[in-house]
Subunit: 485 residues, 2 copies
Amino acid sequence: MSSDARSNDASTFLVALKAIVGERYVLTDAVDTALFLTDHRGRYHGKALAVVRPASTDEVAKLVKACAEAGIAIVPQGGNTGLCGGATPLEPRPTVVLRLDRMNRIRAVSPAEETITVEAGCILADIQGAAAKEGLLFPLSLGAEGSCQIGGNISTNAGGIAVLRYGNMRQLVLGLEVVLADGTVLDGLRRLRKDNAGYDLKQLFIGAEGTLGVVTAATLKLFPAIRSRAITMMQLDSVEDALTLFARARAVFGERISSFEIIGSSYMDFVLRYVPGTVMPFAQKSPWYLLIEAGDSQLDAPLAAAMEGFLADAFEAGLISDATIASSLAQEEAIWKLRHGVTGEFKLAGKTMSHDTSVPVAEQPAFVTRVEEGVLKAYPDANVMMVGHIGDGNIHVVVLFPHERFAGSEDFEAASDAIDVIIDDVAMELGGSITAEHGVGTTYRKRLARTKNPAELVVMRQIKAMLDPENRMNPGKLFLPDTAA
Amino acid sequence: MSSDARSNDASTFLVALKAIVGERYVLTDAVDTALFLTDHRGRYHGKALAVVRPASTDEVAKLVKACAEAGIAIVPQGGNTGLCGGATPLEPRPTVVLRLDRMNRIRAVSPAEETITVEAGCILADIQGAAAKEGLLFPLSLGAEGSCQIGGNISTNAGGIAVLRYGNMRQLVLGLEVVLADGTVLDGLRRLRKDNAGYDLKQLFIGAEGTLGVVTAATLKLFPAIRSRAITMMQLDSVEDALTLFARARAVFGERISSFEIIGSSYMDFVLRYVPGTVMPFAQKSPWYLLIEAGDSQLDAPLAAAMEGFLADAFEAGLISDATIASSLAQEEAIWKLRHGVTGEFKLAGKTMSHDTSVPVAEQPAFVTRVEEGVLKAYPDANVMMVGHIGDGNIHVVVLFPHERFAGSEDFEAASDAIDVIIDDVAMELGGSITAEHGVGTTYRKRLARTKNPAELVVMRQIKAMLDPENRMNPGKLFLPDTAA
């Protein structure tokens, strides 16, 4: 085909899209699309025929059908806050970015049912807010909650800081509306707590990163609001001690613990240096810091007293060396600030390689020791920082090098790959996962292909081929190009 | 093929099976197999070449491979306690029943991780017991727990009396080991709380009723044991009031409520008459009875006091007319006995038609009213009994007729079908499901085909064709024969 014919085809196609969503919602100018063609970390820069912004499920269905007829690929995009390049159009083929941001209606909230039905483009914080207005809680909480969208949270099976108590995104979805690759609307938007009428199709699309269809709406579980809270940070010597404290905390607080987070010494140093407004709450340093949040739906539940007792026992047992309990909202926020998202600040500090590994909870001491040893043996000048959700077995390893450490990006990529292998091998030996909550996207494809067991990869490819036989739904994600359907 | 050749083939095949599991574990005599060829309710009577009892995943894989090579169908069977004929071989083709009962090893319990890894044939009560020995709780609980097997619980996504707090079976599975139709072992037996490395394949097999593969082992979530408890039963006038009480109870007790169960007047009468040892705890009758169980992992949590306050407020608001709080284990059991499984006793009372509908929680008043009106309009002599998990939106409707009501089984089936349509239509209009927790099996196939939305049925059939292209895994279940893959 001549390039003229191709551009004619493309312009006919764009006219069709404009007829569906209206001219102003088909963006083609670089100045309008730039933000949506680059990933959150600024690592990937893509290309698309257009960024299209539908306002309804019906429009999405029509757009997807038009793309199916024209053989155009689709990259669904929510808040574009993902960390793995899962929403950037990177394949060398005609592609449309489907931004769901205009589908931001909260369709219904039912306090009696503790459910909320939302469109895919709703911002997570807005959903939290709508629940709070009814005296209820939507528990998903993560760094990007002010801008990430629920469709993206669902498509990446988002985790965050309350997984221990409430599960990850998958556990919070009751019903799902999805547009399939051919434009069929799969209406599974049920508000049911129990439904065994056939295969649970929604599970296919949760965590599928847009490779099997476009999530357009969901019915989510709500929970009683938390009315009493105790937040504490303590200093301790080892991950083993952290696990002992975890068992003790579960015995005292049961399911009231929503967060059980660990921070390694060098990560704490990094935060104190680079994140404005952070203050060390202790007189001295220690190898590890632990943050516990416990909450109760009852007003005036005696959590602070229980926490004091818990800490006194921990001192006595020699498990911790110092501790602080927040006694005001400001103090709670100050403690959380030491733990919360610092992705942006990494760039100031140097060249970083971030990981999102999970291992079985009890294997974390081995994981931490072996990863640190392995990386330092290969790269003695690395700063191996650790921070994570120790209650979930999900420790993020961030390896930091000085800005000038690598001659060029090839050197950096080679080192990054080598460190991936070191960390992934430890994770696999311990029965872990290379990606606990971030997903695979573009960044982790090679590592997934190397570590996933072959029988599982075969079934994954079968599913992809079944629901997206032309490989047009977010192509090139999850699977390496040469292994895709 | 002559019948001699066929029987030769069959005997060669049986020799192959015996070589895998040992002669004594390939049952072919009617006296040995009868129990396993009839369903729990005695409604279905099947036929099989053999009932085979493997002892390991490796043996299951070899058996399934042998069946694949010989073109033999497989019906996996756990405790055979299902209520929908999902584990009975009913297709007119050579079939093997795969009983998992010898695979009853608890492979590992980790208190530190709050996980347990079990083989498919473990009896539910044994898993509960193994957790309790470590001071932990495995929360799945249902009438048949003394004999049902966890593989069956997983394959039917079992519900029960603690779904409100802990979710159904699906929410309790961390990892799954499955043997696929060609004998491939899909080893997803991970002990991870978070794992976003690709599609979550285990979800396909949970609730698939053995139609996509054989579940051989699972890693399950455990929870802190319940150390304080309050159980109460109250009398009330309406389902609306029950929902008001539900909202109030959630506000007072939050997630501490594990069971919120409703019993209709005629069901209560039935229980008191037919279930030995049951005693009415109130002086008078009332239209509805509500059972609430709240639990706390803390010892001496002031639940009884809170329950007394809750009941006092409910009296004052005119929501209940009488109430009793259990003050001993015996009283707790006496209250639960009024609610618990009476499947066997139905046969004494007459001809029954049981349903397992769910609707959105807030739609239950409409559901109850419209079902009762609809059934009584068509069958004025019916006794419409209701009992269920009102906190989950799952009300079991049991329609009872005198023994002599129908001239023959055809009459009974015709009435049963007509009543299904009445109830299912109400459920569909309210956004419900025809089977909340029992599954589809054989019994509910026709109703599923009639009520499930066509787009979802298409994807269900695609999944079946993808994982079981020869339709050998529990064929004839879920899908009506002429619509199966």
